[in-house]
Amino acid sequence: MKMTTMELSNERRSVHKFLPNSEDSVRNEMLRKIGLSSVEQLFSDVPEDLKMKRPLDVPDSLSEIELERAVRSKLSKNMSAPDLLNFIGGGVWIHHVPSIIDEILSRGEYYTAYTPYQPEISQGMLQGMFEYQSEICELTSMDVANSSMYDWATALGEAGRMAARVTRRQKILVAKNASPERIGVLKTYCYPAGIELEEVNFDPRDGITQTDVVENHLDDSIAAIYVENPNFFGVIEESIEAIADLAHKRGALLIEGVNPVTLGVLKPPGQLGVDIVVGDGQPLGLYPNLGGPLIGLFAIRDDPNLLRQMPGRLIGETTSRDGTRRGFTMVLQTREQHIRREHATSNICTNEALFAIAVAIFLSTMGPQGMRELGQQIIARSHFASELMQEEGLRAPYFNGSYFGELSFQSKIDSIALTKRLFRHNILGGLPMKRFFPAEPRLSNVSSFSFTELHSEEDIEKLVSALKQIESG
């Protein structure tokens, strides 16, 4: 039975394990020392009308035993591996998470720390974040990386606003074969700043963005062009460097969105003339967690105009005051909200710092050889799947362009119906283009299947066999 407010104040309450001073004698002693007889007196300046007269209508406190039982019982209604095979990508990819990441991230020194405002006692986080920044620069061949954004989509949103500030232009060209939901986020970040988006169509046969099409859209009102590589269809864009040239000739910036797992084998953006790189570090050591938390990558080439306008936290290397020891600290805080307020480059404060450590661990675990092998293993599987499908007379790949881990596929039934039919075979997939491009009938029956190093031959054979059944039925 719930107690009334009065009863709550007077009743001898049980001590909660998170409340060390809730024991009556301790509370009363503290009150006595500040000359009060009841906690209510500390709220005497709150208008009586505003005070709740009833208890909160949420459940009563659960013990740890009851809590675990209740929550796990609900979670058991979810379905995941190994009960189901998962071939979905599209922005979150299911990769192996090395055990040492779980181990290090479970350290309270990291996960219960705050933002490193006092660097003298935060060298652990600060050095870890500096190492993350450095490794992202190496991976992307860019010159400066910040220590994280919320995710790929918001990193893109901020990149769009940044490009408008740097170029003083108000339009961004976006590749139509980019993730529509990420473009949706870009729109949410752009329209309040008066920035417009204009779509650049892709070649219907190879699924790639063509330079002549880009050129037709380019003029002096364009702040930036945005392409994804691989794009949302999983196809590798081949004209990034050419598009960069076109952009630069017109005073525009090139923003590339990347899946960082590809960069062990694909040419990094810094070597293609890209000005701003965005992406998600999720495939580099983060569990999918139903899509959050993720970690937004944000990196730029070396240019003081870009650096000044860059959002997010930056960690720099310095020394102790006497110059004898190396140390790390937050730098260029004059871009940030706590200093510049309404003139800040972004409002971002809390970001995804803990996962910067996870990604730093992942990249040092893999090393150059590991990233290359991982890329090979993924490509091997997607291309093996393609061969198997072709042997069964299935249409894969649908697009002619080359691909990394996501294979495009065209079915006889529409792509959403396909996912339902595959579910009956305990398979999750593919990514249905009908859902993401509802206004494009030619994509209605196109799906994308994501393959990672976790898929065995048997897994892939199961998928192909199921597809064969569905397509012939």
Partner: protein
């Protein structure tokens, strides 16, 4: 403590820490990169990542962790940050593969368990905040503010009130408030705090105009003082067709006692990594769910989570008035799950007790601090709530030791400093929020430490100015760190 090398300095060619299974014969046939990637797009230069063995990586990051302070190690009374204890049972639950391995684009029928939890969380937050709907999507408080400001903007457009482009923000507000408002396209108009440190209806009447879109406010304010004129202020804003936005950073003072909805707020964000004890992670991940009244619920980001007549849960994307997508997918789910666990752990009575204990701890600590060295500006004698701001101005005048120096000196005691130089309206500000999870002995020890620093500032100033001395490293050269000519933002590139 030690000088821990960088990963690139520990690297030795040929070392590896990864293990991938051998490619099967079938897979090997397709592993030739020359066959599958066009030459122009193939990586042709070496990737310069460090090469280490697994034991070395563990050791490196664990050694680094020993040079990192955290709430699990000691008191961390940063004002408006609510550094309270992070429950471990939530950590264990969040590791469950039935949450960790879920792909966001999985069919809804395969994720009913987590959708049910999120729908329940939404209901609890509505009850706690006095709102009608919540979006769980925003990744942080600042992003919640941006969402709220966009909702205001879009709602004004719908009401043909587009000319309203000014957002009122008190001078004591957290930096994210004006930053978010500016991002949403508003011009920020500052409201000066009164002599009592609050936002008065008088002050609002002074700055309000036909261009006022609304106000962003936190209650208690950043001084730790309850905004006693809030109902009147809300009325004034509403009468001029404006909307009220609540910054939930200070919700820890009000749980189960006062609800933002009852104060007249239309939009609320909650910082779950503050009030609901999800770990800060050194700067994230967090989550900033946004609550709204019924009239504004059409504007929430897509998708929302809805219950079907059959008692199942689904995502709703069909919301034409929505401000749109605010981030990838649905929010920081693993963080939200921890907030859910926290609410159930505390329960109805427990949550109310949290606020009581937080407010008691704050006032108790304040009462023990040397009032000669540290003055309490605004409304002397009136109780604070969960946090308080003191000024080190008297100390600085007498000894030359500043708030910044005091903050550095506290680090030597194995506890964290308060927030410094915020809010901007208090000179030499120290903003202290002990939270309800600190045993009373720690509160006493913190006060003793502050008072001792004040004493030493008079008797042995050099010691204070030279601190911290017992930490992993002493004060850093911040000037060199940010100066363009000496700034270093990544480790040295390997010479080719």
């Amino acid at each position: 403590m030690w000088d821990e090398p960088l990963l690139c300095e520990l690297s030795k060619k040929g070392r590896r820490a990864y293990s991938l299974p051998e490619l099967s014969r079938e897979f090997k046939k397709h592993a030739d990169l020359d066959q599958s990637i066009p030459q122009s797009m193939r990586r042709s230069t070496a990737l310069n990542l460090p090469e280490l063995s697994e034991p070395e990586i563990i050791r490196h990051f664990l050694r680094l962790s020993q040079m990192n302070f955290a709430i699990d190690l000691g008191m961390y009374p940063l004002g408006s940050c609510t550094m309270k204890y992070n429950p471990k049972v939530s950590q264990r639950i969040a590791r469950d593969p039935k949450i960790a391995l879920l792909h966001p684009y999985q069919d809804e029928q395969t994720i009913q368990g987590i959708l049910e939890i999120l729908a329940e969380l939404e209901r609890y937050l509505c009850e706690i905040a006095g709102m009608d709907r919540f979006s769980l999507a925003p990744a942080a408080g600042a992003q919640g503010e941006y969402v709220g400001d966009l909702i205001i903007r879009n709602n004004l457009v719908d009401r043909d009130l587009e000319g309203k482009d000014e957002m009122l923000v008190p001078d004591s507000a957290h930096g994210t408030n004006p930053a978010s408002a500016a991002m949403a396209g508003f011009k920020v108009v500052k409201i000066p705090s009164s002599q009592d440190g609050i936002v008065t209806s008088e002050a609002v009447k002074q700055v309000i105009s036909n261009r006022t879109a609304g106000m962003m406010l936190t209650v208690p304010n950043t001084l730790g003082i309850f905004e006693r004129e809030i109902v009147e202020v809300s009325k004034i804003i509403h009468e001029r067709d404006g909307l009220m936005y609540y910054d939930g950073a200070n919700m820890n003072a009000l749980l189960g006692r006062v609800r933002p909805g009852d104060m007249g707020f239309d939009i609320v964000h909650i910082n779950v990594h503050k009030t609901f004890a999800t770990p800060h992670g050194g700067g994230g991940p967090g989550a900033g769910p946004v609550g709204v009244t019924k009239q504004l619920s059409d504007y929430l980001p897509v998708p929302t989570i809805e219950e079907t007549p059959e008692g199942k849960y689904r995502f709703d994307y069909d919301r034409p008035k929505s401000i749109g997508f605010i981030k990838s997918f649905y929010g920081n789910i693993a963080v939200l799950l921890r907030a859910y666990c926290y609410i159930l752990s505390l329960g109805s009575n427990g949550l109310r007790e949290v606020s009581e204990q937080a407010v008691l701890a704050s006032n108790y600590l304040l009462s023990l601090i040397d009032a000669e060295a540290f003055s309490t500006p605004f409304m002397r004698g009136t109780p604070r709530k969960h946090e308080f701001v003191i000024s080190a101005s008297p100390l600085k005048k007498k000894t030359g030791v500043s708030a910044g120096d005091v903050a550095k000196s506290i680090l030597d005691s194995g506890m964290h400093s308060p927030t410094t130089y915020f809010p901007l309206i208090v000179p030499e500000a120290l903003m202290v929020e002990p939270t309800e999870t600190e045993p009373v002995e720690n509160l006493e020890r913190y006060a003793r430490t502050l008072n001792d620093i004040a004493k030493r500032s008079k008797e042995n100033k050099e010691e204070v100015l030279d601190s911290p001395r017992s930490t992993a490293i002493g004060r850093l050269d911040e000037y060199k760190a940010s100066h363009p000519s000496s700034m270093i933002l990544r480790w040295k590139k390997e010479a080719k």
